[in-house]
């Protein structure tokens, strides 16, 4: 055990970290995404590797209905969780994830109220031919009021299912579904991870 401890200490400086998903300018972005009285926040870094490892990863994949894949969607990805406070009271959360899109990476942030209901949706980064339409306020508004319950039965591979609220989310460009479906997968993954990190910790 002691040997492993020393080995870990010696290797700590050399291990390359996986990429996370942080807000570019948290002070400014949080105030913009969560308008109202002055918001203060706490930042926490979480990962599946530290929250049960492989077992937790499998559980998340099962709920998502898809495998984590590729070079970058790995067990050691650090997820950044912003916990928001207004007047010293818990006001909500902001959490973002990276998602592979058709032509580049998507960074999808969701703003939650303290009960896990989405109050805002934000693409921090998007490389897509339909970027303009996807980044429109009308598209973002469709996610407001939804929660994990609406996406539990949503099939990320088929792009079908979900509650009535989830099913009415409209693709702004029906001719190209790839980035729209990638966005819905990102939303469902974000919701599942938030359930794991915050709302349903005891169920791990």
């Amino acid at each position: 055990m002691l040997k492993i401890f020393w080995l870990l200490i010696l290797l700590a400086g050399f291990a390359p970290a996986a990429v996370g998903c942080d807000l570019n300018d948290p002070d400014r972005d949080i105030q913009r995404l969560f308008p109202g009285a002055k918001v203060t926040y706490k930042t926490a870094y979480l990962s599946l590797a530290r929250l049960g490892g492989e077992k937790t990863l499998r559980a998340v994949e099962e709920r998502l209905g898809d495998k984590f894949s590729g070079l970058y969607e790995t067990i050691d990805v650090p997820y950044t969780l912003y916990t928001l406070y207004q007047d010293g009271q818990l006001a909500g959360y902001i959490h973002g994830i990276n998602q592979k899109g058709r032509y580049g990476g998507l960074q999808v942030f969701l703003v939650y109220d303290p009960d896990g209901v989405i109050v805002n949706f934000y693409y921090q980064k998007l490389t897509s031919r339909q970027a303009g339409k996807l980044r429109s306020p009308e598209f973002a508004k469709q996610f407001t009021g939804l929660s994990l319950r609406d996406f539990l039965s949503y099939d990320v591979l088929a792009g079908a299912g979900g509650s009535a609220g989830a099913q009415v989310i409209k693709n702004p460009d029906p001719a190209d579904r790839t980035d729209f479906l990638a966005t819905l997968r990102a939303v469902k993954k974000n919701l599942i991870l938030m359930d794991l990190f915050v709302f349903n910790k005891g169920a791990q």
């Binding site: 972005d29 899109g101 580049g104 980064k125 897509s128």
Partner: protein
């Protein structure tokens, strides 16, 4: 029983004092080995970093931000271009062993963050650039399949951000074309990690910069005199010459002053070890005044007493140095992390290099300094008169 065994037994009789003395020497040796290792590692890593850039000289238009970070800070503006004819003239000179042309380009990406951001591209010559940067290794895929291929190569962090793998397609801000990802580079710790590379001609074409270049990387022949060649380049109009030798010398001269402080600390550690040993052995001699007298009265010669005390000193120093060296090896990773945290500029690579010459130097210098510190107490012990020691019993 020989003198050495007597010395060992003497040390074991006062275990606590022996342990504390060894601990003091061990800490001094640890500091000394680590500092000597840093002295060697920093310079070596800096050399490797600069040589790893692949170029000895970079030629850019005057005032052009030739580093991606500078370009980003300037919001992607301020790029200046050199005429191709001038670049070709320099690249064709006698002293040049290899040259590679580059076009850096910054494009505003409206879909980055709330208000958009800048994406930096580097158009490179597929024939010459890879050979000038042999340290670039691929995580996936490889360089462009052809000079005119509509392909890109991504630095590791650029690929992570874009979630791209070899074979994926990608859209680049500033172009309507789709690019195939030919390869993803391994992490290098340099600005290349965040770079998007594309073939030079393609870059010139899609960004409407035909015939324009921002940089020329040069490597000189071994027999060429770099300073003479640089002097020639200084006479060219509107170009700036960035010499990696200059960069290295500037950094090394800055580091030199830090090195003086580092070596002063090492010297102090050395002195602490020396005086610590002197004090401990002297105290031990005073405590054993009568014992030494008795040894002499039963036949021990001054030479035997001198050797006995000096052997104790040598043992203490050797054990302390050895323990310090082991600590230095065990904690070199942590020491390196601490140095990186505190240093304003630290090159990539090993900052603390512990090799046998460094280790041997530290071991010998600490042990010999300790032994030198033990000479005076040994002489005092050798000079003890048996009658005086017996009379001193209360």
């Amino acid at each position: 029983m020989n003198i050495f065994q007597v010395a060992c037994k003497n040390l074991l009789r006062r275990k606590t004092r022996t342990l504390f003395t060894i601990a003091g020497i061990m800490l001094s040796a640890w500091v000394l080995v680590t500092l000597l290792g840093f002295n060697r590692g920093y310079e070596q890593s800096l050399n490797e970093n600069i040589e790893g850039m692949g170029f000895q000289i970079v030629l850019t238009a005057k005032g052009c931000p030739y580093e991606a970070a500078t370009l980003m800070l300037k919001g992607g503006t301020g790029l200046r271009y050199m005429p191709e004819a001038l670049v070709r003239d320099v690249a064709g000179r006698e002293a040049v062993a290899a040259a590679t042309e580059m076009l850096m380009h910054a494009e505003f990406d409206p879909n980055k963050g709330e208000n958009g951001g800048t994406t930096v591209y580097l158009g490179i010559d597929p024939q010459t650039y890879p050979a000038m940067k042999p340290y670039l290794q691929f995580n996936q895929g490889g360089w462009f399949s052809a000079d005119s291929a509509v392909e890109i190569v991504l630095g590791y962090e650029a690929a992570e951000l874009e979630q791209r793998e070899a074979g994926d397609m990608m859209l680049l801000p500033g172009s309507e074309q789709e690019f195939r990802v030919a390869g993803v580079l391994k992490r290098t710790g340099t600005q290349d990690d965040g770079m998007i590379f594309l073939p030079l001609k393609l870059a010139q074409n899609i960004f409407n910069k035909t015939g324009r270049l921002t940089m020329l990387g040069l490597r000189l022949k071994q027999e060429a005199d770099q300073s003479v060649f640089e002097e020639e380049l200084y006479s060219l109009p509107d170009v700036q010459v960035v010499s990696m030798a200059q960069v290295k010398n500037t950094i090394l001269s800055l580091v030199a002053s830090a090195k003086v402080i580092v070596l002063s600390i090492a010297f102090i550690a050395f002195l602490i070890a020396l005086f610590g040993v002197l004090n401990t052995i002297l105290m031990s001699v005073f405590e054993r005044f009568q014992e030494i007298g008795i040894l002499k009265s039963i036949g021990a010669l001054p030479k035997d007493i001198f050797l006995m005390v000096l052997s104790e000193t040598a043992l203490l120093c050797a054990l302390g140095s050895l323990a310090g060296i082991i600590l230095a090896y065990l904690f070199s990773g942590l020491s390196e992390m601490a140095v990186r945290y505190f240093l304003p500029f630290a090159p990539n690579g090993r900052l603390i290099i512990l090799d046998w010459p460094t280790t041997a130097l530290a071991f010998l210098s600490i042990t010999l300094a300790g032994i030198a510190g033990g000479v005076y107490p040994s002489l005092r012990a050798a000079a003890v008169r048996p009658l005086d020691s017996i009379r001193s019993v209360d």
